[in-house]
């Protein structure tokens, strides 16, 4: 009975036993042990497969380690980072990645909001819309990517006439098409998250605003948006970080050629084309740091309402 604990007047203040001396009861101890036991496998797996490798990546990034010349491996400090940070490839890839992230998330947010409103408000055909938009979500990204590539290919594609020529070899056009493919694939996810947020806005409140004389736009901006803020934050945060690690679509559309590679493509190329584990690891660590910074900015901007912060649970 948690309510009991919140409201009970604390009768202990009169110099009785301090709280610290209170021992957990057997049941509580057992509950704690069970909790740890149940979480242990997941925690161990997550630590082993993410924490350990990222530490190992930091270690690798401090070494000269080229798979073609494994004998030459040696500890070289921050030299790999210097190489990467001095290279225009890194900064270009970062720029491309940021560009893709910002533009696609912004457009997805607007489209997703529209879609969410359509799905939320319309009574007729709601099910079929919801089903249809799940198709892009479910489809294998790389397969969809090839579909887009063929669509733009001269001679065979249904979209070839829109651009006239070979858009995928021009940097900006290609990036625009990558963003388009990304938007097509992930707007549904955004829309679903926003729709869930819309469901949190009570109809009564909207009706009250209508009675008070608020226009549709005013109702949207003054009531819906503020109430949806948690859902919006979650959607934007997840999608931004997801867009930052974009890989599949670029691989299928341009394979990073013509200056369209993202940081993930760059890291992959250094690892598997150049076979340079040291430089590749340095890039990996830098990407990790970028993601951490983006997440930090989001959480700062939007306050403490991070996704799952309610998961603190019932206690």
């Amino acid at each position: 009975m948690s309510d009991v604990r919140q409201t009970v007047a604390e009768p202990q203040t009169g110099g009785a036993a301090p709280a610290a001396a209170v021992q957990a009861t057997d049941g509580a101890r057992e509950e704690r042990r069970l909790g740890w036991m149940l979480c242990a496998p997941a925690v161990i797996v997550m630590l082993l497969v993410t924490a350990y490798p990222i530490i190992y990546a930091i270690y690798l990034s401090l070494k000269r380690y080229d798979l073609r010349f494994p004998q030459d491996s040696k500890f070289i400090g921050l030299q790999n980072y210097a190489t990467v940070l001095k290279s225009s490839y890194w900064w270009h890839a970062l720029l491309v990645t940021m560009l893709i992230m910002v533009i696609s998330v912004a457009i997805e947010f607007v489209l997703g909001m529209g879609l969410a409103l359509v799905m939320h408000r319309t009574l007729f055909g709601r099910g079929s819309v919801r089903t249809a938009i799940l198709v892009p979500y479910g489809i294998v990204t790389i397969a969809a990517g090839f579909g887009w590539q063929y669509a733009w290919t001269p001679g065979q594609g249904y979209l070839q006439h829109l651009t006239g020529g070979t858009p995928l070899v021009h940097t900006f056009q290609a990036i625009a098409l990558i963003i388009l493919a990304e938007i097509w694939k992930t707007t549904p996810f955004m829309a679903l998250l926003l729709m869930a947020g819309l469901a949190l806005v009570p109809d009564d409140l909207l009706n009250a605003a209508r009675v008070d004389g608020a226009s549709a736009w005013q109702r949207f901006t003054t009531i819906m948006l503020p109430l949806m803020k948690p859902a919006i934050l979650v959607a934007l945060l997840f999608r931004s970080l997801d867009a930052f690690r974009i890989f599949d679509n670029i691989y299928a559309l341009t394979n990073g050629s013509h200056n369209t590679g993202s940081v993930s493509i760059l890291g992959y190329d250094n690892l598997f084309t150049a076979l340079n584990l040291g430089i590749g690891s340095a890039i990996s660590v830098l990407i990790f740091i970028c993601v951490a910074i983006i997440a930090f900015i989001f959480i700062r901007l939007f306050g403490t309402a991070t996704p799952g912060s309610d998961l603190g649970g019932r206690a």
């Binding site: 979480c39 797996v45 198709v135 998250l193 970080l241 690892l271 584990l277 990996s284 993601v291």
Partner: protein, 278 residues
């Protein structure tokens, strides 16, 4: 409020536009896969094959690599899903149900991993797996898949678990059930829909992966279909295997689409459950 006729048709048009937008690119792939390979490059991108053929499908299924990759995809995704769901169920139950210190830390960690850039793990995992002889094996892919689907699983499942009225567990105890009986006869039947939904979401995630598969495999011993698709292009220099890739894409997409259509409601509930409460 009653919608007027104009409003209704307005919504109708919006709906149709959305559906077309979602389905057009998929239909494009399907139509490509049924076109005669020789015609593909010249038919100007029509949405309806002038001449229908199953040649592309026959071609890929004759190809040993594709069949292998399909088997790998199914096997690896199923095993990863089963393990991830089992671990996530345990952790999510504890998070939703039990009081123990360190819970916040666990949630934070799951969140961190959900946002983790996978490419950051590719280089160390590549190196580690080669050392442990896990490179280019099923476990070599199952391990990262399972790890990266755990946060999703924990979020979705703990949201589901929190919906279960826990008075029922108390009632079962009062009715004379042991904890095991209470779980098996009361909690498990109620949790099944949530577990099932989570399994679908995790399966889609594993099935979709491309980056790990092209990085941590080198042969058909463990390469999954998405990665195999990536290598299709490079293989043939004289003729772009557009038709074959389209057919392969359709083969791996169709099961997911059917899945999605069939369990539409549950997937929506699952995708949104963890997020809304934040």
């Amino acid at each position: 409020m009653a919608a007027t006729g104009a409003q209704k048709s307005g919504w109708g048009i919006a709906n149709l536009a959305v559906i077309a937008w979602a389905l057009f690119p998929v239909w494009w792939l399907v139509s490509l896969s049924f076109k005669v390979p020789a015609n593909i490059a010249t038919d100007g991108g029509s949405f309806w094959p002038t001449q229908w053929t199953l040649e592309n499908y026959r071609g890929i299924f004759k190809l040993g690599e594709f069949v292998h990759a399909l088997v790998n995809s199914i096997g690896i995704a199923v095993i990863s899903t089963v393990i991830a769901v089992a671990l996530a169920t345990m952790a999510a139950y504890a998070i939703a149900r039990l009081r123990f210190p360190g819970k916040g830390l666990l949630i934070g960690m799951a969140l961190l991993i959900a946002m983790f850039p996978q490419i950051s793990l590719v280089s160390p995992l590549f190196s580690i797996e080669r050392g442990l002889h896990l490179f280019n094996t099923w476990p070599g892919l199952i391990i990262p898949y399972m790890t990266f689907s755990l946060p999703l699983g924990i979020y979705v499942l703990s949201a589901f678990f929190r919906e279960i009225p826990w008075d029922l567990e108390k009632a079962a105890k009062m009715d004379g059930a042991t904890p095991a009986q209470a779980f098996r006869q009361v909690i498990a039947p109620l949790a099944m829909p949530g577990i099932f939904t989570t399994a679908i979401l995790i399966f889609i995630f594993c099935w979709n992966d491309f980056l790990f598969s092209i990085s941590l495999t080198s042969t058909t011993a463990s390469r999954t279909v998405p990665a195999e698709l990536g290598f299709f292009t490079g293989l043939s220099s004289f003729q772009t295997p557009t038709g074959a890739i389209a057919a392969a894409a359709v083969v791996i997409t169709v099961p997911i689409i059917i899945f999605v259509l069939f369990f539409q409601r549950r997937i929506v509930a699952g995708l949104t459950s963890g997020a809304v409460k934040g």
